[in-house]
């Protein structure tokens, strides 16, 4: 799994950082997404997929090819 985030569309809702703090954090000033781990381990992948679905701005994309 490979994760991509689009900071410019992010509104900082923080759903991803609350759901998978191992993979997503937020900029402490602007609240926008900071990707900590673009290639999360198997154990985190289900939660990462859910975070991508939950993002209100669709600013997270997940590709399964890698």
């Amino acid at each position: 799994m490979h994760v991509t985030t689009w900071t410019e569309s992010c509104v900082g809702s923080g759903q991803c950082a609350l759901a998978v703090p191992e993979v997503f954090d937020q900029d402490q000033d602007e609240g926008t997404v900071r990707l900590l781990d673009a290639d999360p381990s198997q154990a985190l992948q289900r939660r990462v997929r859910e975070a991508a679905i939950s993002c209100p701005m669709q600013a997270i994309s997940v590709s399964e090819s890698r």
């Binding site: 900082g12 923080g14 759903q15 703090p21 954090d25 937020q26 402490q28 602007e30 209100p56």
Partner: protein
């Protein structure tokens, strides 16, 4: 009824947790339905999950208050709908005004900061549970637990003294009540502005002082943000927590799972938020231009109401009995906090509060029960945009001395 019938927003419920049955009927027929607003305007009611997400993510559907219409009769909204947004009220603004203000707020509401409030929240909860234990059963869970918790939390966050609660709790109720007159709501708003303006000036630390110190927003904007968060951040959160407890108490098999497996808590809270969806009259929007959307011709100026309860019960998104409470269900994508740029800024704080509130409540009172039959529990179906119990009398066994 034909497919072309124009319907009002339904409000009558047959079960405390199920949205009005008409919403499912409309959704099965079509994803959006022509709806007649209380002022006679004919707009749209969106009932499907996929279309709800599309509308709330589409900038052609404006959130500007001068264009929006109230889906159910609410005279108290008259001073604020059909008029430009009050300074700081981001939920009534589109980009770029919305973007400029939300950017100043998002960093203050990060998941990390909200998680860092957990020790404070737990301390408040410990005190409330000790008070309830001391006073003995029965207790109103709202008066004794969920309302003081949400009020303490929002006061701590904003820097508003807790001692002011009686006034702002009363004025918030007047502001949102469906039975308030325009004058009553406007006067309540004025009093709330006076309170928050004083707080923002007075010092102490909290979000309002921090925003003032940063100097990026005007004093009026900071006051507006404070009023919006103070009014929106205690009653609705308290109601959601109380409704969550009510749902668990009336679903014993779910409550048993909840109390035996702490790993379920986070998902259970999101399932409860989905299941009860307290913002029951939906999210208002208005079309900015003429365009084709989901097979319909939308005209500029038409009002659109996105029914969050209907979307959250849509079997197309929640395939396994969406009308049932299932704390192990996959809940991602639920719309209890809305969607798009206006999705609730405080949602992480709500989750942190609700998780602590429900797990600690049922952990402390392992045999908590309703103190009255469910038929005696009153729900505010038609009094407020926030749906829920007015009081939740609960009881618990007291060990004999």
């Amino acid at each position: 009824m034909t497919a072309d019938a124009i319907v009002p927003h339904p409000t009558v419920r047959n079960c405390p947790f199920d949205p009005p049955a008409e919403l499912a009927t409309y959704r099965e027929r079509e994803q959006m339905t022509r709806m007649r607003y209380p002022d006679g305007h004919v707009g749209w009611l969106v009932t499907s999950h996929s279309l709800a997400r599309k509308v709330l993510a589409d900038s052609r559907f404006s959130a500007r208050s001068e264009l929006k219409r109230v889906p159910v009769l609410r005279p108290g909204a008259d001073p604020f709908f059909g008029a430009p947004a009050l300074p700081g009220w981001v939920l009534d603004m589109d980009a770029p005004e919305h973007t400029r203000i939300r950017r100043q707020l998002a960093g203050k509401f990060t998941a990390r900061r909200m998680r860092n409030m957990r020790p404070y929240i737990e301390e408040v909860i410990d005190d409330l549970l000790a008070d309830m234990t001391r006073a003995g059963p029965p207790a109103d869970l709202i008066e004794s637990y969920s309302l003081p918790l949400s009020t303490h939390t929002i006061c701590e966050l904003l820097g508003v003294p807790y001692a002011e609660r009686a006034d702002f709790q009363r004025d918030s109720k007047v502001l949102f009540s469906l039975s308030s007159t325009a004058d009553e709501a406007a006067a309540a708003m004025d009093r709330l502005y006076d309170l928050v303006r004083e707080v923002a000036k007075a010092g102490g630390d909290g979000l309002l002082r921090q925003l003032s110190a940063e100097g990026e927003l005007t004093e009026d904007e900071i006051t507006g943000i404070g009023v919006m968060m103070l009014t929106g951040g205690h009653g609705s959160v308290s109601t959601a927590i109380a409704m969550g407890a009510y749902a668990l108490l009336t679903h014993p098999e779910q409550l048993a799972k909840f109390t035996t497996d702490p790993a379920l808590t986070d998902n259970a809270v999101d399932e409860l938020l989905r299941y009860v969806t307290v913002f029951h009259f939906g999210v208002p929007r208005a079309a900015l231009e003429d365009f084709e959307f989901a097979g319909h011709s939308i005209r500029a100026g038409e009002a659109v109401t996105v029914s969050l309860p209907a979307a959250n019960r849509d079997p197309a998104w929640f395939p396994d009995s969406p009308g049932e409470l299932d704390i192990e269900r996959r809940t991602s994508g639920h719309l209890a906090f809305g969607h798009g740029i206006h999705q609730c800024t405080g949602q992480s704080l709500v989750r942190v509060q609700a998780r602590a509130a429900l797990s600690m409540l049922f952990g402390h009172f392992s045999q908590l029960a309703l103190a009255v039959p469910t038929t005696e529990i009153t729900l505010n179906t038609r009094t407020s945009p926030v749906y829920g119990v007015l009081r939740l009398p609960v009881t618990w066994p007291v060990p004999e001395k």
